[in-house]
């Protein structure tokens, strides 16, 4: 569409101003702060790469617990959550409208309850005494005799956090993929079956996925973000930061621990920058995957 030269910028301006002030500037500041020693009161003191060197050599908690936890958590909640979201959306698209809408609503609803509601629910399910639902069910089934103190047992905290994160991960990415699936023209499928596409598998890979690439990429991005944003689940469920013996300590928690508990803002900023780096690596991989399939 042809416009005056200034028109696009007029339309973009309100967004760009807010975007710069609240997203770009803080990110740039985080990078700048990461090279300083800053306790939120005194003027930041420039320390060069010290924070990063400490992060990679001195911070045993980071190297022993936080980093491996974050990678494990992100790999499972990201790619697995994503494939699950696509699979569920695809399955739903094969149903008639009413049951599809109802089932989609139910599957989507957990992602609306993140935060307050989620904490209450899952805390009751995984209550450490025998009146917790999980303990009661397992006792009734004869699997355990003594109640398990879920939120203090380091073997269980991480798996529970992952399950809860997956449970809440069928969010907007899932919806976008469902919408994308339903938007594919039926003629494409008919043409494909005439052209010799034989099974569902071929259909999904040759017709469905290429036809809904915008939604697929969007879903992938949402999966990455979701995987890293869900970092608060462990702290909310166990009610403490750090989580018991750092069993579910993720980078987001580590940042808060240093930033708001110890007021080592410069160091916290260095962890933030490292986290952003990891997130961008993940999303870079996701984008590569989807540009190749073109």
């Amino acid at each position: 569409m042809r416009t005056k030269r200034s028109t696009p910028y007029l339309f973009l301006m309100p967004y760009l101003i807010l975007f710069s002030v609240f997203i770009i500037v803080p990110t740039v500041m985080a990078v700048a702060l990461s090279f300083t020693n800053y306790n939120a009161v005194e003027t930041p003191e420039v320390v060069g790469l010290t924070n990063y060197i400490n992060l990679l050599t001195q911070d045993t908690i980071f190297l022993q617990y936080v980093l491996p936890n974050t990678v494990l958590f992100a790999l499972i909640v990201g790619p697995v959550g994503y494939m699950l979201a696509f699979f569920l959306a695809w399955s739903l698209s094969q149903l008639t409208k009413l049951p599809r809408t109802i089932l989609a609503l139910i599957i989507y609803s957990p992602s609306m309850t993140m935060g307050v509601a989620m904490t209450v629910m899952w805390r009751v399910v995984f209550l450490g005494n025998q009146s917790g639902i999980a303990n009661y069910a397992l006792t009734q089934l004869g699997i355990i005799t003594e109640p398990i103190v879920w939120m203090l047992n380091t073997n269980y905290i991480m798996p529970i956090v992952i399950i809860v994160a997956l449970w809440g991960s069928m969010g907007v990415g899932f919806l976008a993929m469902l919408a994308g699936l339903l938007n594919i023209s039926p003629e494409l499928y008919e043409a494909a079956s005439i052209d010799g596409v034989r099974n569902r598998f071929q259909e999904v890979f040759y017709i469905t996925i290429p036809s809904m690439k915008p939604q697929m990429l969007f879903g992938a991005v949402m999966a990455v973000v979701n995987a890293f944003q869900a970092g608060n689940i462990g702290v909310m469920l166990t009610g403490s930061n750090p989580t018991p013996q750092y069993a579910a300590q993720l980078m987001v928690n580590h940042i808060e621990d240093y930033g708001f508990t110890r007021y080592e803002m410069g160091y916290a900023a260095a962890v933030s920058v490292a986290l952003l780096g990891i997130i961008y690596t993940f999303s870079f991989v996701a984008r590569k995957l989807f540009t190749e399939k073109d």
């Binding site: 499928y189 890293f228 961008y280």
Partner: protein, 288 residues
């Protein structure tokens, strides 16, 4: 016809659809059970909250937890109506403003030609991965510098620019045929008129989805109250609800469940309304 008699978005039930139900229904039960549980929990009277063995369903529903919730609020200096009012103002402002600026920006990025177009879109794409909690500290410093600390704006302004909203809306606008816009231009419509009369009506599904996203980001947001405000009188409902859920007692559990339900219901209702409109518009829009 499509393979095995199955096809996408079928009009009628067919026995080939049964296998999908066989796993979708159990998954839906797993996903929905905790929510059904919280609804039941919120209406349990004291003796049922304490009951052993624990019960899933409520047998004598009562509003005692909601009463306790409102009484606790009445006992503090700020009435609950104030938190509700604050949340309402902040939520409406964020949803409307973020839709407005994202659709405007999306229109420019999708349909206009200018030099920085690709750069801006790329930067926005990178920002999709922006995790606000990672840069909470510099965000606080920026908000302090802008001078909106401890005002309503501290709830509103930081949340309006949502890269996800813009991305989604722009992607959707790309599917609007250029010929429609050119036809409108030939009839003498200016850019703003085209935006208002052509683009907005044709992007309703994306707008609905954007509204859901914006709503969720603001309605359950605890961070802005926690970090960017200090006066109790301008904090939001989600902040207040969050302080309650910290109470570990059984009575606290009932109250927290009631609070969780109050936070959840508007979310659910909005989604039910919007989702049907998204699906309807998608099914009948016929543009591809």
């Amino acid at each position: 016809m499509a393979i095995n008699g199955n096809k996408v978005n079928p009009k009628k039930f067919h026995k080939n659809q049964i296998p999908f139900y066989l796993y979708l229904i159990p998954i839906a039960i797993f996903m929905g059970a905790p929510i059904v549980y919280i609804i039941n929990h919120a209406f349990k009277p004291m003796d049922e909250l304490f009951a052993f063995p624990p019960r899933f369903f409520v047998s004598n529903p009562s509003f005692i937890n909601f009463q306790n919730l409102f009484q606790t609020a009445a006992g503090s200096s700020i009435p609950i109506s104030r938190y509700i009012f604050n949340s309402f103002v902040v939520t409406v402002a964020v949803v409307l403003l973020s839709i407005l600026i994202s659709t405007m920006a999306g229109f420019a990025l999708s349909k206009m030609k200018f030099r920085l177009k690709n750069t801006i879109f790329e930067v926005n794409n990178l920002a999709l991965m922006f995790v606000a909690t990672a840069v909470t500290i510099p965000r606080y410093l920026t908000i302090n510098t802008v001078g909106i600390l401890d005002t309503y704006w501290a709830h509103i302004l930081p949340l309006i620019a949502m890269p996800v909203c813009l991305f989604l809306i722009k992607q959707f606008m790309d599917q609007v045929p250029d010929s429609l816009l050119e036809a409108a231009q030939l009839e003498g419509a200016g850019s703003f008129r085209i935006y208002w009369k052509v683009i907005l009506p044709l992007t309703k599904p994306a707008i609905a989805t954007g509204a859901i996203l914006a709503f969720q980001s603001v309605w359950t947001n605890v961070e802005t109250s926690n970090l960017f405000t200090s006066s109790e009188s301008i904090r939001t409902l989600s902040f207040y609800m969050n302080t309650l859920s910290g109470v570990g007692t059984v009575q606290g559990q009932g109250m927290a469940a009631a609070a969780a339900l109050i936070m959840f219901i508007p979310n659910l209702l909005l989604f039910v309304v919007m989702q049907s409109s998204v699906m309807n518009t998608m099914a009948y829009s016929g543009m591809k």
